[in-house]
């Protein structure tokens, strides 16, 4: 996979905003002094009159977005996941979630792949926080194609949406003519009968690689990409649980409250064993993103090893 095209989903976010604006004239893009990093700078360059920099004041930015939405606009409030979901949690809950306003939160630099900035900026709790808010849609795209489709889908949907993007360039895996994005619908990337690997965001491509290598060893693993963590595709996951009997989840997030827990909730009436790969109740570290991903086990070799261990092979 050495020559595979790689794009960071934060770049996809900035590009998608530019692509979508002509179709959504009520759009406005907000940032909190991070336009160069969140890539809303791309939008700012194209449509400066619709880019509002709120300065280093994320709590206020979420309130500004709420007021704009109440006045009929479609704001994208952008910052790092740590500050959009973390610092401004209560503003998102009370000013956006409770009134169910049409605010889109574009959270970049999610998870440990932030890299060198370290633990203070590596948000591994945002999915847990955001999906606890009633009525909040939570989307965690796996690549460029999905991220751009997610931005458009969020614009077409009326209500609050949390979009999670990454800093690190990730392989483009959904570049297929029949690719279709639907909020709340998981995607079976590979069929299989022995076990199901459910992944979301950055490690989806690693899960696919793992499954391909496992196939060579006679293990038939199903791979499901859950881009929408809330509302989760309960039907698809329950079916996979019933048909394969075991699930491994892979997420660039704490195993507390993230994808793994959402999968457990989805199958709670007919449970099967669920093994969670993710950040195991600890803070991150400084270091190159690729090394950190290895360290936290979000790679094909670790997914492979986990599957084999679960299957006793």
């Amino acid at each position: 996979m050495a020559d595979v095209k790689k794009i960071a989903t934060r770049d996809s976010y900035g590009n998608a905003l530019v692509e979508c604006y002509p179709d959504f004239p009520n759009m406005v893009v907000l940032d909190a002094d991070l336009a160069a990093a969140t890539k809303t700078g791309t939008f700012k360059k194209a449509y400066p009159e619709r880019h509002v920099d709120c300065g280093i004041a994320e709590s206020n930015m979420i309130g500004i977005a709420a007021g704009m939405a109440a006045a009929g606009m479609i704001p994208f409030a952008s910052s790092f996941a740590m500050f959009a979901a973390g610092r401004a949690f209560e503003q998102v809950r009370n000013s956006v979630g409770y009134p169910h306003l049409n605010v889109k939160i574009g959270a970049t630099h999610a998870g440990i792949s932030v890299g060198e900035d370290g633990a203070t900026h590596q948000c591994n709790e945002d999915i847990a926080l955001m999906r606890a808010i009633p009525g909040m849609v939570v989307i965690n795209p796996s690549d460029d194609v999905e991220a751009r489709a997610a931005v458009r889908a969020a614009l077409e949907y009326v209500g609050p949406v949390y979009l999670r993007f990454g800093r690190l360039a990730v392989p483009v895996i959904n570049d297929k003519p029949d690719y279709k994005f639907e909020i709340g619908k998981g995607v079976t990337l590979r069929d299989g009968k022995d076990i199901t690997i459910v992944a979301s965001g950055l490690p989806v491509s690693e899960a696919l690689t793992a499954a391909e290598e496992l196939a060579a060893e006679g293990i038939d693993a199903r791979v499901i990409n859950i881009h929408t963590i809330k509302p989760i595709d309960q039907e698809l996951i329950a079916k996979a649980a019933a048909e394969t009997g075991k699930i491994v989840t892979v997420e660039e997030h704490s195993i507390i409250g993230g994808l793994g827990d959402a999968v457990c909730e989805a199958i709670r009436e007919n449970p099967v064993p669920v093994y969670k790969i993710g950040v195991n109740d600890e803070f991150g570290h400084s270091g190159p993103a690729v090394k950190l991903i290895e360290m936290y086990g979000l790679t094909a070799p670790n997914i492979k090893a986990t599957v084999k261990k679960v299957l006793g092979k």
């Binding site: 009520n26 406005v28 009159e49 619709r50 509002v52 709120c54 300065g55 004041a57 709590s59 206020n60 979420i62 309130g63 500004i64 977005a65 709420a66 007021g67 704009m68 939405a69 109440a70 006045a71 009929g72 606009m73 704001p75 209560e90 503003q91 009370n94 000013s95 409770y98 009134p99 169910h100």
Partner: protein, 277 residues
């Protein structure tokens, strides 16, 4: 509406506050009463609104940043005709449209959900900025508590308002000088309030929150201000209009019992009779 009629209306708004809070056996009468004349002026004189069409696109907007004084907002809305005055008695009850703090999804005339202090002003700034972006000429008003401005987010929003030259925004500070734990000057003084807003780039004007000529002068002045937002520091008396509640911090968030209710209503009815006489 002339001053006499505004005074009569404000008295009815105060009666609605007492009705609601007494019926709920909970709520915040003190700050609702201190702002009763401001609520009245906004909904009966100042704002371009239509109770028959609460979502009118180009209406002026009001955000109750000090959301706990919802009884005052609800009473003004009911008296203005958004919903029956009788409904004020359902305040804080299960199934009521009148939640403990304003809920824009359920209550006609409520432009923004609020209640967590410091957040309403940001939403008001968002609405005012949206008007600028969409070339609309509506105005946005937000009412804040003087204790509320201890929240840091208020000053983030103030910076935003001035930076974006939101001259369609009026921030009213209900300066009754009391918060739950005591006098604001003792708990965590936000004084000098006027100089702080000035330093943040606001035009600042003072008014007597219980004198309609003074209130009118402040709001009329705000309409002449261009290129920056206006803050009105409205000097008020917490619990205004009910003798035993006036300037008593204990009435911040407490409902009157039956005897206290009777006394409050008889005082307000006497004021009403005098005004109407």
């Amino acid at each position: 509406m002339d001053v006499k009629q505004l005074k009569i209306t404000a008295c009815n708004v105060r009666k609605g506050i007492i009705e609601g809070v007494h019926s709920a056996k909970a709520g915040h009468p003190g700050g609702s009463l201190s702002a009763a004349d401001i609520f009245t002026y906004l909904y009966f004189q100042e704002m371009n609104i239509d109770p028959a069409n609460p979502k009118m696109e180009d209406r002026d907007r009001f955000v109750l940043s000090k959301g706990h004084t919802a009884p005052g907002l609800y009473s003004a809305l009911a008296n203005r005709g958004y919903f029956p005055v009788e409904e004020l008695k359902t305040l804080r009850q299960i199934g009521s449209r009148l939640q403990g703090h304003p809920d824009m999804k359920g209550t006609p005339g409520v432009d923004m959900s609020s209640g967590s202090l410091g957040q309403g002003i940001s939403a008001a700034c968002g609405m005012a900025k949206a008007a600028k972006l969409m070339n609309k000429d509506y105005r946005v008003y937000t009412l804040m508590g003087d204790g509320e401005i201890e929240e840091g987010q208020v000053w983030e929003a103030a910076m935003f308002a001035a930076h974006n030259k939101l001259d369609n925004l009026v921030v009213i500070v209900d300066n009754n000088n009391l918060q739950i734990d005591g006098a604001i000057s003792d708990v965590m003084s936000p004084y000098p309030i006027d100089e702080k807003f000035q330093a943040f780039g606001f035009e600042v004007v003072h008014c007597d929150a219980h004198d309609f000529d003074s209130i009118a002068a402040a709001f009329n002045y705000a309409r002449t201000v261009k290129g920056k937002p206006t803050a009105i520091v409205a000097k008020s008396v917490k619990g205004k209009g009910v003798s035993f509640m006036e300037n008593q911090v204990g009435w911040h968030g407490k409902a009157p019992n039956d005897a206290e209710y009777e006394q409050a209503m008889s005082e307000l009815n006497a004021q009403l009779a005098e005004l109407e006489g």
